[in-house]
């Protein structure tokens, strides 16, 4: 028992030494936990930022002029005025996401209470902006028209609504993006470090040598898990505290320690996944392909880029197997909603089970994959 722990420890130290000799890899790790996160987080602030909008004004009234001024940064760029026939080429070229067409006699009709119609063209290929931008523009126009009419019509609504966005009052995108980028980098790094390191050991014959020594496959595998887990865990906690909390001023509501525990569990699961992939792949190029096959869906469908609820049920079910799904879940819970262990024990447990299953499965394949 003591010997097992010692072996695991010394083999792990060996992994760390090896890692600290690969300067290129170190630079990449540092980058991915500092600048990489900073850039991504700051790239987009809100769903609608700097949206490109143009207006075709056929009315040229006071009201239509006011509508031009209603769109301003940071949500929108200042509206360009274009002609009716310019709509198609401009939208085809992707110059504008939104184009409003204000009909002639617009102001007159509004004043007369005839409820005229403004046409809003949206470039639906622009995904997120297209899907949530329409509502915003509608609100802005209504507000503008209402305030224009204020003198003549009372503005009281039958039922007023108050919207309280909890945990992120202004829905600042960068908070979420930065944390999700951290999640994504943690996962990518952990899988590549363990998986590729194992293949390299196999290709160099060092693994075979180890198996002739009084060292078990379990010890070899576990040493890789803990060493890489440690590296990534430390990097991610530093990244969370220094880059995300200090530099990007993202308010973290929950306990950093609880988050750390979760990251450790997640890392156990993904490093095991890395080892598993390495046991399946026969050489490094194959591992490279497998990595993409596994990483890409794991990142895109974890609920970190688009909401889990929006995916088809079968995808949601399949994604239950992916560690990232649970990672994203508890990340949101702990970091933003300030949830405690009473809330996140479920994803924690699932991560542990996923990790244990993958680890056990790799253990069975390990010897065979080395000897062949």
């Amino acid at each position: 028992m003591m010997q097992t722990l010692k072996n695991i420890f010394f083999l792990g130290v060996k992994e760390l030494r090896g890692l600290f000799r690969d300067y290129m890899l170190l630079i990449l790790i540092v980058y991915s936990f500092s600048l990489g996160i900073y850039i991504t987080g700051n790239a987009t602030n809100d769903t609608i930022t700097n949206a490109a909008i143009a207006i075709v004004d056929e009315d040229h009234s006071q009201l239509s002029e006011r509508l031009f001024d209603a769109f301003f940064p940071p949500m929108f760029r200042h509206a360009d005025e274009i002609k009716l026939e310019e709509i198609d080429p401009a939208m085809d070229a992707g110059k504008y996401t939104f184009v409003l067409v204000i009909p002639s006699e617009f102001e007159k009709d509004v004043l007369a209470g005839r409820t005229p119609t403004i046409q809003l063209n949206i470039d639906a290929t622009r995904m997120s902006q297209a899907f949530s931008g329409g509502g915003y523009i509608q609100q802005i126009i209504n507000k503008e028209v209402t305030s224009y009419l204020k003198s003549s019509t009372p503005a009281a609504l039958p039922v007023e609504t108050v919207v309280r966005n909890r945990y992120n009052a202004n829905l600042t995108q960068s908070w979420f993006k930065a944390v999700m980028q951290l999640v994504s980098n943690i996962t990518m790094l952990a899988i590549i470090l363990t998986g590729a390191a194992l293949i390299r050991e196999r290709e160099n014959g060092t693994l075979e040598h180890l198996l002739v020594m009084p060292v078990t496959a379990f010890e070899i595998m576990f040493s890789k898990v803990w060493s890489m887990l440690l590296v990534v865990l430390v990097a991610s906690i530093i990244s969370l505290v220094v880059v995300i909390m200090q530099m990007m001023h993202v308010p973290v509501n929950g306990s950093v320690w609880l988050f750390g525990c979760g990251v450790a569990l997640h890392l156990f699961a993904v490093t095991s996944l890395g080892i598993f992939l390495a046991c399946v792949a026969q050489n490094m190029p194959q591992l490279g392909m497998l990595l993409i096959l596994v990483l890409l869906p794991m990142q895109m469908l974890s609920g970190g880029s688009t909401p889990m609820e929006s995916m088809p049920v079968w995808v949601q079910n399949v994604m239950q197997v992916a560690p990232t799904t649970h990672f994203v879940e508890f990340c949101q819970a702990i970091l933003f909603r300030g949830a405690g262990i009473e809330v996140v024990w479920k994803p924690f447990l699932k991560l542990f089970i996923i990790g244990a299953v993958l680890f056990a499965f790799s253990l069975r394949r390990f010897r065979r994959s080395v000897a062949s």
Partner: protein, 928 residues
């Protein structure tokens, strides 16, 4: 050419050359002249700068500041001269088959080199046939190089080096790890080549002194300096020795040979005569239909030194792997001290010391760290670890290298390290697979001294394979193996006697030739007439014509040659290719269906503090929509807080007391929406949905209770038209976006390993020493991946149209042109990453980081580039995926053609040469 008329004084001339690796000085003010047409041998202990010197001479390694090297009448510092002479130099680096491609067949390897040197098909055929016939490789033309035995690999390596009739042939320990028969054939081959090309200079470094004896001129080296030069006879005369092994030791400075005496092996004590340490009975191992080991039996008593001899690939290593428990025998049994070998038994493993044929310690640890690790894993007490490690380092003379990593050290020193690691725990049984290959004579004797001591003093049983006959003679018994069978097993003296041969080597070769008559023929064939050989003049003229073609700076033929070779390698790994093609399709399926912007089934609950009919109706209205699913009502604020925090609810609605009454009284009651803002984009969607549902409800109420509730206050209507995707489906927007994403990542990662892998495997040397230029090398490598990427893009488009029902509305031609350009960008990016990194891990990581991140985040896949900020915006503007996305969506969704999309095409067109150019610039043509 001028050089043929001017008399060449020196083939190679070094003046005051120094070279150091960090602090270690490999060459120290080294000067040397080598006359043309000679067979020159380079001997010396390990790590004295032999390999460094050879790689400098060939131009494979870049020179450092001091000294000049002239090769074939020109300065090797000058790039122009290097380009000019590299077609006349052939170089075989140290290690088995380092310049070969293991997945390619013998024929393909030779074809590749032939093509590189610009021979036409007919010429290649003639040369290949001649070379392979005279080396006995002719019957193995279809065998992959990786499956050849060590000796055959070396012969093939030599053939590849000789295919272009070089003027200077440089061989770095070409016969290390090669069996005696193959070695003899190898030197016969060299002799016959020299006979045909008398002008050729051959420089050989070797650890086999019996080989060195046949050289015309010898250079003995030590510590980066020349000890002595001269013909073997001169050296014998100087040292008063009759063989080179001894002569070499005599040449060494006094302190180095201190304590070196001629080895004697004391007889095996009778004490443990009945204790059997290793017993094998009918041991058999089959791999598929191939029988690697065929019913091998032996019994080895405790303390015996048992030698295992045989040609390369005869099953020695497989037998050893079975004895260590790494492989399970197909048939038969093996026992260690009477216990069957169990793979999992730690006790057995503690008794074993094992040394593999190829270096299998950690290149990333220093020598000391390696030994410390092994000492600890072998359960040596922590208090003794340091002492034991020091003892081993002293014993194997590793102290000067204690803090170096093995990667930078010569083979011989690595072998010593492996040995030290194998005996560090004082094992009872030592299994050593060619432990002394590539080790210099002094170190070998030291090692044997230790083996003998271990065996005789401590009763350690030693099971060893070797190719050195003087080592075999020291064994108590030897077993001769061939093709998986044991031919004979006896003491060396008896074997020699039985065959009545003068030496063990002769006896051994006799046994082998008897077992495999074909091997005899191979040698006799060697002098067979070369079809063009009968007219040396004709050969010369061919050579001249070839030389005068003057090797153009950029040759399409060489590009095609690289492309051909890379495609072959790609095809030899069908699993990888299949993964790439079907992986792309699978990913498109999963992501096309999975990524969606329409959010449905959001959970919400109501804190209804009114409880009137109207408030219930309000809640029902929201629950009735397809966007929301109602959960059980909220009890109080605490409950609301708790359920939002746990993530059970995306939305909580608070309806105030007296909501119904106030509404009817026109008092504008206030409804509160609590939205979980953890994921902002989802929160926005929730907000949008609930607001519109709220308005809808108000209008309904207004209609039903016209009198009580004021009508809608909307003064104007906004009619929304979603262009290009009128039904606002995620799929048509997503599918054209997924294609560029996949076509960035998959081809990039495929191509990324191409160069780094060659760096790790060693075949990158072919870039250093052949006329191949960097751009030819990279472009050639890139082509198959571009083809591959185009193929997979066609499949993805087909999938989009058929399975996803997303039609291509615009110009297919534009899409295809864009995809070709884009494929060049993505594969180019992979190669760029590959050029700058050294390890496969780093390149995978770099490629992932460099493709997945920007492509997903900054290129407008989800958020348009125009709304990005800061560095993200810059990356988004520069990254080719941005433009490919615009084109893909333009063609798929917007029905656009060339006229609208030419700026984006232009952007891709500009990116291609930039990416490739960077790759070429950052790739090194010489080793540092």
């Amino acid at each position: 050419m001028k050089q043929s008329s001017v008399e060449q004084k020196f083939a190679v001339k070094l003046e005051h050359v120094s070279f150091s690796y960090g602090k270690t000085l490999a060459l120290n003010d080294f000067s040397l002249e080598i006359a043309p047409g000679k067979l020159v041998g380079l001997i010396g202990p390990d790590g004295v700068g032999k390999s460094t010197m050879l790689s400098l001479i060939t131009g494979a390694r870049a020179m450092q500041e001091s000294g000049t090297i002239e090769v074939l009448n020109g300065d090797m510092r000058s790039k122009e001269h290097r380009n000019k002479v590299c077609p006349k130099i052939a170089y075989m680096p140290q290690g088995l088959g380092k310049n070969l491609y293991f997945t390619l067949t013998v024929e393909e390897n030779l074809q590749f080199f032939g093509k590189l040197f610009g021979h036409n098909a007919q010429e290649r055929r003639r040369r290949i046939d001649h070379l392979t016939r005279s080396t006995g490789l002719y019957n193995f033309l279809d065998r992959p190089a990786g499956k050849l035995s060590g000796g055959m690999k070396q012969k093939l390596g030599l053939c590849c080096a000789l295919i272009h009739d070089p003027d200077l042939l440089v061989l770095d320990e070409p016969t290390t790890g090669v069996d005696p028969l193959a070695r003899r054939q190898f030197w016969d081959l060299v002799d016959s080549v020299r006979a045909m090309q008398p002008g050729m200079t051959v420089i050989v470094a070797t650890a086999y002194m019996d080989e060195a004896q046949r050289f015309e001129w010898l250079i003995a080296m030590d510590e980066g300096k020349i000890l002595d030069t001269g013909t073997p006879a001169e050296i014998f005369a100087k040292t008063h020795c009759d063989n080179l092994d001894d002569a070499f030791i005599q040449l060494l400075p006094a302190e180095k040979r201190s304590g070196h005496t001629k080895l004697t092996v004391p007889p095996l004590p009778e004490k443990d005569a009945n204790v059997i340490a290793i017993a094998a009975d009918g041991l058999t191992k089959r791999f598929g239909s191939f029988t690697a080991v065929d019913h091998v039996s032996f019994k080895i008593r405790k303390g015996e030194i048992f030698g295992f001899l045989g040609s390369n690939g005869c099953g020695k290593t497989t037998t050893m792997r079975m004895l260590t428990g790494l492989l399970t025998p197909t048939e038969g049994t093996a026992e260690l001290f009477g216990n069957p070998i169990e793979a999992e038994s730690m006790e057995t493993r503690l008794k074993l010391g094992y040394m593999t044929q190829l270096f299998s310690l950690y290149n990333e640890l220093t020598i000391r760290q390696n030994l410390m690790l092994y000492a600890r894993l072998y359960r040596i007490k922590e208090s003794q670890v340091s002492a034991r490690v020091n003892e081993m380092m002293e014993r194997f003379q590793l102290m000067p290298y204690a803090n170096d990593t093995p990667a930078a050290l010569p083979l011989g020193i690595k072998q010593r390290l492996s040995l030290a690691a194998a005996v560090i725990h004082h094992p009872q049984i030592l299994i050593l697979d060619e432990p002394t290959s590539g080790v210099d004579p002094v170190a070998r004797d030291l090692f044997w001294e230790m083996i003998i001591e271990l065996s005789r003093k401590d009763g350690v049983t030693v099971f060893i394979t070797t190719h050195f006959m003087n080592e075999a003679e020291r064994c108590d018994r030897i077993s001769l193996m061939h093709a998986g069978r044991s031919l004979a097993c006896d003491t060396p003296q008896n074997l020699v006697k039985e065959r009545s041969m003068p030496t063990l080597e002769a006896a051994f070769i006799d046994y082998l030739e008897e077992a495999d008559p074909a091997s005899k023929e191979k040698i006799s064939l060697e002098k067979s007439a070369d079809p063009a050989g009968d007219a040396p003049e004709k050969r010369k003229s061919l050579w001249k014509r070839f030389a005068e073609s003057n090797h153009p700076k950029f040759s399409i033929q060489r590009v095609l040659c690289c492309c051909w070779r890379e495609s072959l390698e790609l095809m030899r790994d069908p699993i990888r290719a299949t993964l790439a093609i079907f992986g792309a399709l699978l990913l498109m399926l999963v992501m096309g269906f999975g990524i969606s912007m329409d959010v449905e089934d959001l959970s919400f609950a109501v804190l209804d503090r009114d409880g009137s009919g109207l408030s219930r109706n309000y809640a029902l209205n929201i629950a009735g929509s397809r966007y929301f699913v109602e959960q059980k009502p909220i009890k109080d604020y605490d409950d609301l807080e708790k359920r939002l925090r746990s993530g059970d609810l995306s939305l909580a609605i608070e309806i105030p007391p007296n909501f119904g009454k106030d509404l009817q009284a026109g008092k504008s009651p206030q409804v509160a929406f609590f939205i979980d803002g953890a994921m902002p984009s989802r929160a926005e969607t929730v907000n949008g949905y609930v607001t519109s549902l709220h308005n809808q409800w108000l209008q309904e109420q207004a209609r039903e209770h016209a009198t009580a509730i004021p009508a809608s206050t909307l003064n104007c209507q906004v009619e929304t038209r979603y262009r290009y995707n009128p039904d606002v489906l995620s799929l048509p927007a997503m599918v054209p976006a997924v294609i560029p994403l996949l076509l960035m990542m998959i081809p990039a990662i495929l191509a990324a390993l191409a160069v780094v892998r060659e760096k790790e495997m060693g075949s990158i040397i072919n870039l250093y020493v052949t006329p191949l230029t960097r751009s030819e090398f990279l472009l050639g490598k890139q082509m198959p991946y571009v083809m591959f990427s185009i193929l997979s893009s066609l499949m993805l488009i087909a999938m989009a149209v058929t399975i996803f029902d997303v039609p291509v509305k615009g110009s297919v031609l534009v899409l295809l042109i864009a995809l070709v350009l884009y494929s060049m960008c993505s594969t180019g990016f992979g190669l760029l990453a590959s050029s700058v990194t050294r390890s496969q891990i780093a390149v995978i990581f770099m490629t992932m980081l460099g493709t997945m991140l920007p492509a997903v985040q900054f290129c407008g896949m989800i958020d348009p580039v125009t709304s990005q900020e800061g560095a993200g915006r810059v990356i988004g503007t520069l990254y080719p995926t941005t433009y490919m996305l615009l084109i893909s969506r333009g063609v798929f969704n917007k029905a656009l053609g060339f006229r609208e999309l030419y700026p984006e095409l232009l952007a891709l067109l500009i990116t291609v040469p930039i990416v490739i150019g960077c790759g070429v610039m950052l790739l090194k043509k010489q080793e540092k």
